[in-house]
Amino acid sequence: MKPIEVRREKVIFVEGQDECGFFEALLNSMAIADVQVIDYGGKSSLDAERFRTLLNTPGFAAVRAYVLTRDADHDERAALSSLQYVLQQSDQPVPGTGAKRGALGCHPRPGARRSSPRCTSPSRASASPRGRATGTWVIRRSTT
């Protein structure tokens, strides 16, 4: 088996094999072939050093846009903050903090109970009641 390298100009970073399988199936069902899904190995271990290591992967220099996802678990705000911190410490644009490029989104899993169906900013995210969020945070940065 060959080590994982970046082969597409669009990448979705996910936190585990389950998410990897989900996104790959979703992309396949939508007939999207120009997006690569890469497992970063668990949200608990996603620190800046790990993310910088991922960004060093051969082929990443050609990436035009990537999505960084993680499960919000029981605290959307904390989940968002953790991703923002990782991006900041990795010298990446940080959506939600005035970055010119990029976007934030909170997308609930099917069947999840949420007070708002979609969050687009940290302030809206933080307005959601703690302990009820079960969505997946998505941060996207366009490099072009």
């Binding site: 080590p3 994982i4 497992d39 050093e49 220099a61």
Partner: protein, 160 residues
């Protein structure tokens, strides 16, 4: 090399534990390095194989480069994969012993995995890995700390 024969002998034991001692034997105008491997007679070290010769080449270069830099191209050349972690451990120790810096190249993922295993005690600034990447026709270095390299290897991410 005065006083270093035992050190060289120990270094070569990475690949051949039979080596008891090394000695230089004059043969005409030449002086050839021989090894005692317990056969009752000493044999030229090149009879011990390419791996032994490779390690000898490395350790002699380090011994002659005290306080300097040693450049090693394709460091694993001639070496069996099973000895690579020990090779890294001993090369790092020898670099400390001879106070020299090692700059080694490889194309092998296995050699990097062996470095992760053999150099686990090393931290910055004693270790850095650079991948040479192509960028618009030029070459740019991409730097990994030891921890970053270890993370990449543990996750089976490409680093070459």
């Amino acid at each position: 090399m005065a006083g270093e024969t035992e050190y060289l002998t120990d270094f070569l034991k990475i690949i051949d534990s039979r080596i008891v001692s090394l000695s230089s034997i004059s043969m005409g105008d030449l002086s050839l390095l021989h090894a005692d491997i317990g056969l009752g007679r000493k044999i030229p070290v090149n009879f011990l194989g390419d791996g032994t010769m490779r390690l000898l080449e490395i350790i002699l270069a380090m011994a002659h480069a005290r306080h300097g830099v040693v450049l090693i191209d394709e460091i694993d050349s001639g070496l069996h994969h099973s000895v690579l972690p020990a090779m890294w451990t001993r090369v790092a120790a020898a670099a400390d012993h001879f106070d020299c810096q090692i700059i080694a190249t490889t194309h092998s993922y296995g050699v990097l995995q062996a470095a992760k295993e053999g150099l686990s005690g090393l931290t910055e600034p004693d270790f850095a890995y650079f991948r040479l990447d192509e960028d618009n026709g030029g070459i740019v270095p991409v730097r990994y700390s030891f921890a970053m390299l270890a993370t990449a290897l543990e996750n089976w991410w490409e680093v070459r």
